[in-house]
Amino acid sequence: MSAVPRDAHSSTAPGWDTPADLEKDPATIPDPATTPVPDALRAEIEGHMALYPNFRSAILPALEAAQRVHGWCAPEAIEQVACVMRLTPAELDAVATFYDMLETTPVGRHSVYVCTNISCSLCGADELYDAIREAAGDDPEFNVRSFECLGACDIAPMASVDGTYVGPLTLDDVPQLLDDIRAGREVLPDKQLARRPCADSGARS
């Protein structure tokens, strides 16, 4: 039984313990002349900006778009968004580090969010998560993460594979799950939430 570290304090900002680099120049808005941005990404970001009375509301959709292009919120991705939106990378980093779906470190290609919150945990999610993580190993195809309640407790224990909800999952499903992802197939079609009817029998006429 390992001791619970007594001085492990709480902070919700990663890098809380890392001292600021005072040798660096203050963050500036990236110069378009020296920051190439893919046309499609620029168009997508500008499309989002046009939807809101205040363009800053587009920060979240812009970061998600850049993450799709680069695989994670890499410094290059942040630079590109900052350049298009005319903001500093620091402002975007502040936002990116807050949200669970924005990856601030390089990750595997396909996200497998395994819910390990209370309802799924009561149905064996913790063992499922361990099994998926072990089976995936360090294969760069997979980004296996334990996630908070995904809103699919009716198919507990479950996972979201690149946004597709599948469950209830058993330990026996794990090899097929990863295989389907590797092969680019529909993941466990019979277990997809999209096909599930309403549990309320009175809802059917």
Partner: protein, 454 residues
Amino acid sequence: MTTKLLFDRIDEPGLSTLDVYQRRGGYESLRKALAMPPEAVLHELEASAIRGRGGAGFQMGKKVSFLPKGGMDKYLVCNADESEPGTFKDRELMQKNPHMLIEGIVIAAHAAGATRSFIYIRGEYVLQADILDAALAEARAAGFVGERILGSDTSLSLVVHRGAGAYICGEETGLLDSLEGKRGNPRLKPPFPANQGLYQGPTLINNVETLATVPTIIRIGGAEYAQLGVETSTGTKLVSVSGHVCRPGNYEIELGIPSREIIYGLAGGPPAGRSVKCWFPGGSSSPVLTGDDLDIPYDFDSMAKAGTMLGSGAIIVVDDSTPILDVALKVAKFYRHESCGKCTPCREGTNWTVKMLERIDSGEATPMDIEIMASVQEHIIGNCLCVLGDAMAMPIGSMIAKFRPEFEAHIEAARARAGRVDVLAAVGSGAAGGGALAGAAAGATTAVAAQGAH
């Protein structure tokens, strides 16, 4: 058989398309509402006495009436960030009947005088957001959303905005900050969003289910809607049931039916041979009830009277196969993760609570840790800008209150496993030593609480 207002033939193929939705009478309520002055629509919402379906249970009609009159920019925000553990009702509504939500939004905007609206949907709901995008495109093309809707004076823009994974963005002011492009930190209230909300303008924020009910209220009339349910909890409610039950899922019920009917009657109760140990009536943020509380009526006031809350309408059932410590630790870890970090009692209190629960499991705790933990919960409640801290403190506090002997036994067993029995012996046997220390800690807690009252 309960009247199905939201779940009426919810699985009909193609219901998410404008074609089928209109064939079933969809957007007739919008036509009816646009022909009424906004005050008349507001009157129906008030007459329905519908209480917010997202968790707070505040009367919707009253909230709409708080928005100031006048021609300034007003906003309507639909809170589709459904992230309360155990809750998955809005998911099914948005996935299978998105037009009902869109219609409800336009009618509510007409009543409130809002000109711009946003659906803030959690980023994890990819399928549901895609379906909403498609439905919105159809609605726009048909003239139900946009400039001068159906030839009326009402105009409304609607944007589907996807979140990126943060429970606190379901808190209304955290949502507003997130929607403005910042970290989702909640704001001090007052001022309330009705006066200073999105972009500091008057904003009406409502839950998906609340807004999705609006077309029905307009169709049958507010007074008719208020006939369903019970006096202070009118109408029907979607309840998500999960955990140790045979038939987890969403069920539409009339508010006020016995909770037993939902847990056993609809969801099949725990598996054969097991019994209910404890259950959360309103998501993991609600104080737990036990197997003795199954006959309490499922409505806002009865739950409040029982020392808990109806919340989002999510019932999580834990049966007797699960140690209470596992439940407490899982719940506390969630709130520690999701704390935005702005307020000290929540940021630090959630962390301390997790560590104390881990120490109980690792054999490093003494009975005094239970007192300290209970004290920490008390000092979180009511002391932060939002109730995320309370959302951990209330259920944990209730578990300590209702399962204290089990926590104490867990401490002893863990200490024995870790070979720490000698320290407990030095302090004194379980009752005497633990009691003296517990008494001292409780005395200190009372003193602090008394000081705090001044």
